[in-house]
Symmetry: C2
């Protein structure tokens, strides 16, 4: 499992417009290999948003960022004008995953000084 | 659905210890009403971690923070010494949820100037 989170700071009074842009946008995600789930998350604090996507593997995520689906999804008009600053991307893998009936640990170890890819 | 994310900055060379603390900790989450899923997320960049929990509703999350399960889970020793600074809590609700076979929109609107609860 692999997670990509893009953090956005939306300008005051532009949040409804921001959410409409996302709702009207075609994501082209359904057919992407390794895609699991996407959520646009609205923060409890005004202006705080995250685009959260879940992938079967890091390879599936990185292949998507180089795909035609990605290019099409990101060619649907500028979101820059409703934002305060550029989005901040974070990439994650689960170390522990717990549900009411299970608890699983990753077998990998953290690599000191590692740096994720920049997109 | 409701999501709580606590962002941590872990000191260099303390990441293995940090992950061990979480793995050895009893979460007491399994029996908490409205608990859906927990993940400890390791960032692609060194030191970047998120504790991610998913709840059926905001009420379920807030009830948990006032519960004995919460008190017990957080009384298992200090994590402060492996951290660079205090964690930063973010609370979120999904505006859009998409899977390979579905796409759902929240019926709620963003409230301008809103501020989430502080814990």
């Amino acid at each position: 499992m692999y997670l990509a989170m893009n953090r956005f700071r939306v300008k005051p009074d532009r949040e409804e417009q921001w959410e409409q842009i996302w709702k009207q946008r075609e994501s082209y995600l359904a057919e992407v290999p390794g895609f699991v789930q996407f959520m646009l998350l609205r923060g409890a604090d005004a202006g705080d948003y995250i685009s959260f996507s879940q992938w079967e593997s890091p390879e599936a995520f990185h292949a998507w960022t180089r795909s035609e689906s990605f290019r099409l999804a990101h060619a649907q008009g500028a979101i820059g004008e409703v934002l305060d600053g550029p989005p901040v991307l974070g990439l994650y893998e689960p170390v522990i995953t717990e549900t009411p009936t299970s608890r699983e640990f990753a077998q990998t170890q953290p690599q000191p000084g590692r740096q994720g890819p920049r997109h």
